[in-house]
Amino acid sequence: MIAAFSFTALAAVFTALAAAPFFLGTYGTGFLLGLVGYVTLASAWALFSGPTRYVSLATVAFFGIGAYTVAVLYETLPSWLVLVVAALIGLVVALLVGLSTLRLAGVYFVIFTFGLAELIRQIVTWYEVNITGTLGRYLFVDYGPEVVYWKLLALCAVTLAIGYLVKRSRWGLALKMIGDDEVVAEHCGLPTARVKLALFAASSVIITLVGAIQAPRWTYIEPTIVFNPTISFLTLIMALLGGAGRLWGPVVGAVPLFLLFEWLSANFPDHYSIILGLLFIAIVFVLPNGVLGFLEEHWTRLRANRSAKSDLEKREAG
């Protein structure tokens, strides 16, 4: 009953979002585009990093790979095929990275993935400079932001659906086990290496696709633009803030943060940084369990209060 209801509600929300470009102007569409982009990034990131607690900063590596693949291939291949190729490249890189990071844990993994993103950026730069002899690539497409937005929205829906299915299946449990204690997980019969690899690959392919879909927005593709480490950081922060261990955590982290960024940079361009920083600190202090944790807590308390009250009323009535 409840599940059916939430499914209908979700479908309605996505339909409304899909129809939005017909009612909103370009700015509105661009805004939603950016928002959905980050929601997808954060959700895809949390798919792997949330339950396993392997905090990855390689986000922008895959994002950039996606964008670059499009910049290189968009003239030679039909656009759907470009996406497929991008996904494949992302997959191969993810498997290589995954295999090589199996032994790393904690902060060593974090910084390794950061180093990896930088390495890929350096290699792409070096390749472009020395082999192709030019650095920036131009990417002129004949469709507008709505098309980019719809593609992203679809990817976002797929990402959330994957997240939902993984959570519900035993693989969700598997990831939590890995996050808690890999040794125990192994001894319980879980092939941890394979599971980690598979999920990391899935998450990375989605991130690659986000980059590939979003690239036409910038017309000009350059390593400094598409391998901008800020993207990794923002993704991580959004997911952590919302609560990376939950399906909707990244969403409730990304949406308010994105709104906040937008609002602050529009209204306080000179003090943006300071206000944002202070708000950030305040959020950590006020919401120790992330936004979703906060919501859940209050929701349960609210419900508890309400049912207690109704109990009381019943008793008084009786």
Partner: protein, 244 residues
């Protein structure tokens, strides 16, 4: 009865230290044996190598004639070896029920979810944790965590169960419950290798004992005899407690 476990010339070196030195022994199907020895004699290390947690420096381990050495722990688990840890390890973000469910769902032939859940309840009952499904695993007391760990080990339907000081820290009445639990398991056909310092339990449970000292096997045989062996007494039991 045929040999279930066959440990041959197992050796583990840490830098200059040889923690397990050329250890060989076999366990028959259905046997309960103790692995004894002073602190630091290499018992846990031996279990670690059998269960695949640590790679052996040399030597082999066979289960039912199949080679375990060189295999990852999950493979060994699927082959039928389960273990508990000397210092309990719980999956702390999961509740009690999920801790067990995890092991049920990832054993060799996992059942459907509903059957799995029923099975988890039965396991919890078996170890005395019935009705505590939803408690957070991390907030259990030490002993209850141990019970949960045992249930988790059993959930993988092992042929061979490795218990590392599972009975340590139990008071005498709890101990007798624990002993009952283990002998029950044995009756169900599970072969058990028990590392333990609690002599009462050893005597009650294990007809046979293997004793290590400084990485080497120094005795192997009927428990009562082994415990009278002067070398075992000197290195392990100590004069005053030889008969405690």
């Amino acid at each position: 009865m045929q040999d279930l476990l066959d440990v041959r010339n197992l050796t583990k070196r840490f830098g200059g230290l040889t923690a397990v030195n050329d250890l060989s022994f076999t366990l028959r199907q259905g046997e309960v044996a103790a692995l004894l020895g002073p602190n630091g004699s290499g018992k846990t290390t031996a279990l670690n190598m059998i269960s695949g947690f640590q790679p052996a420096s040399s030597g082999t381990v066979l289960l039912d004639g199949e080679r375990l050495t060189g295999r990852p722990p999950h493979w060994i688990s699927h082959a039928g070896v389960a273990r508990t840890f000397q210092l309990v390890r719980v999956l702390s973000s999961l509740n009690v029920e999920e801790n067990i469910l995890a092991a049920v769902m990832f054993r060799k032939n996992p059942p459907a979810k509903e059957t799995a859940q029923e099975e988890v309840q039965r396991l919890l009952e078996d170890v005395g944790l019935a009705g505590r499904s939803n408690e957070n695993a991390a907030s259990l007391t030490y002993i209850d965590q141990k019970r949960m760990e045992l249930a988790r080990a059993l959930a993988s339907k092992p042929k061979l169960l490795l218990l590392d000081e599972w009975l340590a820290g139990l008071n005498p009445s709890e101990l007798s419950i624990g002993i009952g639990l283990i002998s029950n398991l044995n009756e169900k056909g599970i072969t058990i290798l028990l590392v333990e310092h609690v002599m009462d339990a050893i005597r009650a449970l294990c007809p046979r004992a293997v004793v290590m000292n400084a990485g080497r096997k120094i005795a192997d045989g009927a428990t009562a005899e082994v415990l009278r062996d002067p070398e075992v007494v000197r290195a392990y039991l100590g004069g005053a407690h030889a008969v405690a």
